[in-house]
Amino acid sequence: MTQPVSPPRDSTAKVPEARPPAWRGLAARADVRTLSLLGVLAALIVVGGITKPDEFLDTRNLQLVLTQASVVGVVTVGMTFVIVSGGIDLSVGAIVALASVWATTVATQEYGFAGILFTAIVVGVGCGLVNGVLIAYGSMVPFIATLAMLASARGLALQITDGKTQIVTVPSVLDLGERDAYVLGVPPLVMVFAVVTVIGWLVLNRTTFGRRTVAVGGNPEAARLAGIDVRRQRLYLYLLSGLCCGIAAFLLIVLSGSGQNTNGNLYELDAIAAAIIGGTLLTGGRGTITGSVLGVLIFFTITNIFALNNLQSDVQQIAKGAIIVAAVLVQRRTASTT
């Protein structure tokens, strides 16, 4: 073309036209939701680094944040499956409590490491089985069945402990929480969380179990008419959530060196909130493990930053509430524009 070079004003007018497709292409590949959650997490780390540069970015502090996040994180992975299937599990905190006290009774501790791990997992899966049978085959509403489990499991945990803290005396269990057990600076508990996350992601995205979960949550009638055994799938999902609670209970035993009936208090709310922040639809049919885990990390990073800045738990609670509302509003907006 023989035209002169266009003036700057003209070129600025053209740039906005050219940019959105490129941005959208990137976003489509990497998923806007995940990116925005990563952005929030990065922003929080920046805030932590600026307000308390020495304490927040200290290795020990980061290890602590991740370790604390691991227990709720494992529970959240199970919760995400349940919510994606259109259900809810209010009993996770109570199951963690029951599993942790059952696994730390004097009788169980006699069997050592294996006895504690085995008991925690069996109790978790057992509670999940009761939930699953009531919901899938007793046609009970998940909210009610798991609310009943919440009450009963907490009660049973109190009965077992009589309100007393059960100290763990098995050295091999306690050693897992010690610094000596860290591999390349990563605490074993965090590794368990990472492994559960990866397995959870693979199961949800790459297996028939994951597909059925999404189908049952997205449209149970269509799933049934497509030949999926909706009831059995629901049963398995509550078993899975119970299994995650059992693993989390073991992590908590390692972390606290004890079993208490007050363990796992309000884990259900943290797990549900993390899943929602991560973009899981409470009505089912859509959700990601990545989003939920980022939601957990965001929660625990905030808690840590607040604690380092001497803001008490009341302020933390208020902030958590505000974050949930903000996350849902932002997501609704991105959903309506796409």
């Binding site: 297996t207 997205g218 269509a222 008419l225 030949g227 049919g285």
Partner: protein, 504 residues
């Protein structure tokens, strides 16, 4: 033309939902004091039209005139303020509130602006109920304790508690006994005598003859006839308008002789109490058997019972001579049955998912080992199945919700094609499918049959059944009244059979 403008005049109303155009330029004129009947099959657009009239849906284009003046019905409250009341088919009452509370819901008589004056509400409710001929209903009773007919009266009382000029009744007689229907008609008569207009929706043509003044027939989102005289238009003409074609379709050729071989699907004495009477039928590989009947004839119920989605009262379904466990969808699917249900979005599709995942959902074990999905194989198989049906766009990774109705139906067919099913059950296969895409779908169905599939087809559109099926069973009120090869029947004959007993 009457010098006085009609009470209500809707013109050129269009309304689209993702994937389907529910209303396509509908006109409706209603005069004060008339009973204007709205007729049409399920999915013809009646519900959407009355929701536009009730202010619950906003039309995309078109205008609404009220007493000759253009109005916009932004919300149900706006419609109510003008004097338009709607009694929906699914009654919108609050079961745990009393009759009086329901009648005055949203406009309770109050003292000092917020204290509900219960006695006033009770008294006015009692007066309304008396006017409706049901003084025996106690305004203090909970609505949940009333019968369906009584609840309908309460719903009507609620409509009348406003200063109503036009009242829309959506299938008001569906839940009523004959003597209750008589009372309903008396009320309708009183209302029209007082100058109130009634828009009356019903499938029952004999009712429309009794109380209707004029009829507007909807089909595929269009008004195919306006203001027909309700009393003198021949039934056959009305039914033909409801079920007939606006366009002549090219149906694929069918084989000259019935396909040989043993039946793959055999139904013996299958029945469901209150829905359909014992039914026998056989479908051979390569054969398309059609069930023709109007709404309420038991068509969909039969198909869903064959598929195991409903549990039969009696009878058996056999595939290749082996009886299926009754009431088990999984047994049916395993034996080789596949269903393309009437309500595609609600019953078949995972709307948040891609075409691939919708297609592969019934055959996941074929692309997985130990529960692990081979996504490459899955995508390849989904692509092959959707290509075979010429599904557009030719990219199975797109979300299924972005497809047109016809292509969504192809996705459902591809699901069963991929699974390799032997018997395809099609419930209203062209419902919500654009007129242009239907011929293509017919060709696909015939081709599948030619390749050896047995097809059991249900449709309320008589020409569709006659054009596509080899053999036709005509249903009326849950009973097969006639069976014949499709080539020996014509539309008029079938319509007479379907309407038998009504004045023709």
């Amino acid at each position: 033309m009457a010098p006085e403008p009609p009470l209500l005049s809707m013109s050129g109303i269009t309304k689209s939902f993702p994937g389907v155009r529910a209303l396509d330029g509908v006109d409706l004129d209603v005069q004060a004091g008339e009973v204007h009947c709205l007729l049409g099959q399920n999915g013809a657009g009646k519900s959407t039209l009355i929701k536009v009239l009730a202010g619950a849906h906003q039309p995309d284009t078109g205008s609404i005139r009220w007493h000759g003046e253009e109005v916009t019905l932004r919300s149900p409250i706006a419609a109510m303020r003008l004097g338009i009341a709607t009694i929906y088919q699914e009654l919108d009452l609050v079961e745990h509130l009393s009759v009086a509370e329901n009648v005055h819901l949203g406009h309770e008589p109050t003292a000092a602006g917020f204290i509900v004056r219960g006695k006033t509400a009770s008294a006015s409710t009692a007066a309304l109920l008396k006017r409706l001929g049901h003084a025996e209903i106690d305004p203090a009773r909970l609505v949940g304790d009333l019968s369906a007919a009584q609840q309908q009266i309460v719903s009507m009382a609620r409509a009348l508690s406003h200063d109503v000029r036009l009242i829309v009744m959506d299938e008001p007689s569906a839940a009523l006994d004959p003597d209750e229907v008589d009372n309903l008609f008396r009320i309708v008569g009183d209302l029209t005598a007082a100058g109130v207009a009634v828009v009356y929706i019903s499938h029952r043509l004999e009712e429309i003859r009794r109380i209707g003044d004029r009829v507007t027939v909807l089909k595929d989102g269009r008004a195919v006839a306006h203001g027909l005289p309700a009393k003198s238009t021949p039934t056959r003409e009305v039914v033909a308008l409801m079920t007939g074609r606006n366009v002549e379709y090219v149906f694929p050729d069918r084989p000259l002789s019935p396909p040989p071989g043993e039946p793959v699907l055999t139904v013996r004495g299958l029945s469901r109490q209150g829905e359909f009477e014992p039914l026998d039928l056989e479908v051979r590989p390569g054969e398309i058997v059609g069930l023709a009947g109007l709404v309420g004839s038991g068509r969909s119920e039969i198909l869903e019972t064959v598929y195991g989605a409903r549990k039969p009262t009696a009878g058996q379904v056999l595939v290749d001579g082996r009886a299926l466990r009754p009431g088990s969808v999984r047994a049916a699917v395993r034996a080789g049955l596949g269903l393309a249900p009437e309500e595609r979005k609600a019953q078949a599709l995972l709307m948040l998912e891609s075409v691939t995942r919708n297609v592969s959902v019934s055959s996941m074990s074929r692309f997985s080992r130990g529960g692990w999905i081979d996504r490459g194989a899955e995508l390849g198989a989904a692509r092959a199945a959707t290509r075979e049906l010429s599904l557009r766009p030719d990219n199975p990774s797109v979300p299924v919700r972005t497809l047109s109705g016809g292509n969504q139906q192809k996705a459902v067919l591809a699901r069963w094609l991929l699974r390799g099913c032997k018997v395809l059950l099609l419930d209203e296969p062209t419902r919500g499918v654009d007129v242009g895409a239907r011929a293509e779908l017919y060709a696909v169905i015939r081709r599948l049959a030619d390749e050896g599939l047995a097809v059991l087809l249900v449709s309320s559109e008589v020409p569709e059944v006659l054009g596509l099926a080899d053999r036709v069973l005509v249903l009326r009120e849950g009973r097969v009244v006639h069976t014949a090869p499709a080539r020996e029947l014509d539309e008029h004959r079938v319509l007479d059979l379907v309407m038998e007993g009504s004045p023709a």
